[in-house]
Amino acid sequence: MLRPWQARLLVVESMWTWYRRNWRATVFSSLLSPVFFLVAMGFGLGSQIQPGGLTHGYSYVVYLMPAMLAAAAIQNAAGESTFPILSGFKWSRVYWGMTATPITPAQVATGQLLWILGRLTFSLTVFAIIGTALGAAAGPGIVLSLVFAVLTGMAFAAPLVAFAATVEGEGDKFNPVFRFIVLPMTLLAGTFYPVSELPAVVRPLAWITPLWHGTELTRAAAFWNFELWPVLGHVAYLLALSAVGWFLTVRYFRRRLEV
């Protein structure tokens, strides 16, 4: 008999088998795209920005790097948590194959989230290494930034996977997610400038996004500048989103596969 965690890890293993063969197709979206942003915005546009109080005294690219980690986590999470999930139910139908074995729908759900966790960790680590090599890291705090960025990604991925498990049709419902959630979040949640610079009416919109909380954390870690209660608050918010998302993912996978 399969042990419960073995079953979840076997789901991860099967996705890893797929990735080993097909990773090339994912390189642009998961890796090159954030590097381009870092280079264009950080070095290019950033060359015109004076280091000052808002950039914590660092050059703009160093200011941008930890936030780009969190933003890249959101981008990656969005890609991994939408069409691949719908495909598992509808096009490749691999979830149906898995659940004909001793593996249960709930274990497939958790295994899928674990796989996304692994993907985020891997992609963001490579991105962090590239950024550090380019001189965009303020110091060893970037390692903790990386951990917070992964958490940020999961706080978005888990609820999104749960949503994707309810999507039928051709996935048209994902377009509003990209247009009205991912893009505005990337532009407004404090990646490129502090949220305090936004008009007061827009600020609350930034505050509810996981990316704003993640950006606060990745910057605090990168510049090793922690304030206890805000840090705890941000971590709690991201953990809560992840936990609720996980719970709903299991629930909706079961609902869809146990019919």
């Binding site: 399969l2 073995q6 076997l10 063969r21 898995m98 004909a100 019919v259």
Partner: protein, 307 residues
């Protein structure tokens, strides 16, 4: 010696909202036999199969698979089943071999074991020369054979095949049946759903005829034909709308009228044909044949299997 049945269902029911897909059926599948569900699309065959496969909870009645209750011991039962679903769910972006290996791992089998098993199954499915090709470009028949090979990766005691040859060309179907015969000879218990009467006759030792969620009849193919049909059938084809059963009605035990032909059920088809000619009946063409399960189904439900 009595052997516990591998599948035992009593009053098994599946409802989707107000719709009753399976309306209380009793079945018993014994070790080593090939058991069939024959019926048209929508008869409740697939719903039944999914309940037996322990992936779909039953709405009512009793069900035991391998002596266990699927509600309680689903994973334990599924570990000993092989499932060929109606719709392929192979991973098209992996190779043929990887599909077998990955699937074997889901059962907790070791990497070494699934490697050896995959090699063996590739031979069985006659796919050894495509082993390291991606699945996507394979033909429908090859994908189906791979799905069957995959279902055997855990050496199942019971193999469930839902419409195994639907959509395949005749040659691919015969190749597939040949593989299934081999499994039968090796003692694997098979449960097959089909809406092809030739498939049911070829594969099944015993079958139930299903219609609208219920079992209409049960027996071996020959028993069913004996019980519900005559030895021979005379088919008289007419241009659509011009078929008139009246002149031949008394030439057999029973007459069925289809859109393009009249079927006369009789013990002696040739004699009935001669008599029809004597009476001046002039069909476009005529044919004397043996009764099949199609005739049984027509008798039981008043409809044909494949519309």
């Amino acid at each position: 010696m009595s052997v516990d049945p591998l599948v035992l269902a009593e009053g098994l029911t599946k409802r989707f909202g107000d719709f009753e897909a399976v309306a209380g059926i009793d079945i018993e599948v014994r070790k080593g036999e090939a058991f069939g569900f024959l019926g048209p699309n929508g008869a409740g065959k697939s719903s039944t199969m999914r309940m037996v496969a322990c992936v779909s909870p039953r709405s009512g009645g009793e069900l035991r698979v391998l002596g266990m209750d699927p509600t309680v011991e689903g994973p334990k039962i599924r570990a000993r089943l092989g499932v060929v679903p109606q719709q392929d769910n192979l991973d098209n972006e992996l190779t043929v071999r990887q599909n077998l290996q990955v699937y074997g791992r889901y059962f907790g089998l070791s990497r070494k074991h699934v490697r050896d098993k995959a090699a063996e199954l590739l031979e069985f499915a006659q796919l050894a020369d495509r082993a390291d090709d991606e699945v996507e470009p394979l033909s429908g028949g090859m994908k189906r054979r791979l799905t069957i090979a995959r279902s055997l990766v855990n050496d199942p005691e019971l193999l469930l095949l839902d419409e195994p040859t639907t959509g395949l060309d005749p040659q691919a179907r015969h190749l597939l049946w040949d593989r299934l015969f081999r499994l039968k000879q090796q003692g694997v218990t098979l449960i097959v759903t089909t809406h092809y009467m030739d498939e049911a006759e070829q594969l099944c030792d015993r079958l139930v005829v299903m219609d609208k969620g219920r079992i209409a009849a049960e027996g071996s193919p020959s028993q069913l034909i004996d019980r519900y049909s005559t030895k021979e059938v005379l088919e008289l084809r007419f241009p659509p709308g011009e078929q008139d059963p009246e002149p031949v009605r008394d030439l057999g035990e029973r007459v069925e009228v289809l859109p393009d032909r009249v079927l006369v059920y009789t013990t002696d088809g040739e004699a009935a044909l001669a008599a029809a000619h004597t009476r001046g009946v002039t069909p476009v063409s005529s044919l004397v044949r043996r009764s099949t399960l199609e005739d049984v189904f027509l008798r039981l439900t008043g409809r044909t299997l494949v519309d």
